[in-house]
Symmetry: C2
Subunit: 259 residues, 2 copies
Amino acid sequence: MDVADLTPAQARERFRGGERRPTAGWCRGWTQANLIAVPKALAYELLLFAHRNAQACPVLDVGEAGAFQTRLFPGDLRTDLPGYRVYRDGRPVADRDAVVAEWREDLVPFLIGCSFTFEQALLAEGVPVRHLEQGSNVPMYVTGVPCEPSGVLSGPLVVSMRPVPEPLVATAVEVSGRYPMVHGAPVHVGDPAELGIDDLARPDFGDPVEVRAGEVPVFWACGVTPQAAIMASGVDFAIGHLPGHMAIIDARDDDYRVT
Amino acid sequence: MDVADLTPAQARERFRGGERRPTAGWCRGWTQANLIAVPKALAYELLLFAHRNAQACPVLDVGEAGAFQTRLFPGDLRTDLPGYRVYRDGRPVADRDAVVAEWREDLVPFLIGCSFTFEQALLAEGVPVRHLEQGSNVPMYVTGVPCEPSGVLSGPLVVSMRPVPEPLVATAVEVSGRYPMVHGAPVHVGDPAELGIDDLARPDFGDPVEVRAGEVPVFWACGVTPQAAIMASGVDFAIGHLPGHMAIIDARDDDYRVT
């Protein structure tokens, strides 16, 4: 069965079984989300950070402290994502297939919107999505653009990049702009140096993709931004998803489309 | 000088001097906001309550704990509103012109969007605004509609009401819908009983207004909703604005308009 045809529950079951793969293209029509789980003591500052940097950190759902389910994720947040990254003192210390042992009773899980949500809409309007063509993870870059701080939390904006043929840039902007809760329109079109990105061939997360002649790199705010803030701020403990290895939730892409 | 022509700084200066009046119609083109200040220990649950009930509680700005300024309110939140309501153990215990003595070092101030923001746009499209005509406060009602809880916080939706001539209802919906960050489109048009409101002539906050023949009562989510939650939840301490007596902030109504 093509992974595009799986339901979220079926995909979660596969990941619970240990499959570690980027989720771009999985569960067509269903929404994917970034995970960031922080100790309750930091939950206010994280939620305010998300509010103050809403394009990068649109909050789709928040669980109770210690819960490993949320309304939109009726699975087990400790096992049902394909990959996790554990942070201690602001440093990634382990990538895991499951975080049952690491999950703490005081952890508050946040699900943050993901730009994979509008990729089917881009394709439907004829905008190619290179990492889907390549069967790879989307490239993500830590920029030089600072987020607005919240308490102890500060850090740079993280972006995802998709190369878009010049004649289709306006379409890509317009189509993604219809999904403001999953990053919406791009934050930048064109020269990566404007964002402080040195080399498109060396993404900070995910895989590089080919930018062909006549294509422009287009950058969207990325829900890995909270993880960059965890690192930049030296937060003592947090668990995120492995970039590109998303939580697949019981919501439809269309739920986040505005008209 | 007509109060409509005052700048926010001028209005704040007047209120600092002790003037207690509803602010509908003040500072034309400038944005007004609801205030709710809660102890830091409750700030996370309040921010999450606001997020979960975003149409009623759109967060425009959040101050640091103990601060009495925010980015959008460069005055003194303890003196520069025309009226305050102090809550203890979920009960309103005092209405005040200033809350210098009551303000605590652990209070976190939240500014929440207000439907006054789209009233000039309604007028510009020919939709009358009765409480402005009457020179009174907008009528507000506690409904029977429950908000989504957050931790200890739960409570009913509060709405404001404006009577709209039937042929202009669609216009009123469309115009206010352009301002999603200040409650946006109505939550209900027509029969007040549908919201659990018994008697339009007896609002829970503000003043009653005349509903004329051929007019329909139209209800918008209201930023007094957090204060209703403070009451319903028995929160030990909070300070709000006196309903209708808003914080006038350094933002333009147009800043909250989407196209």
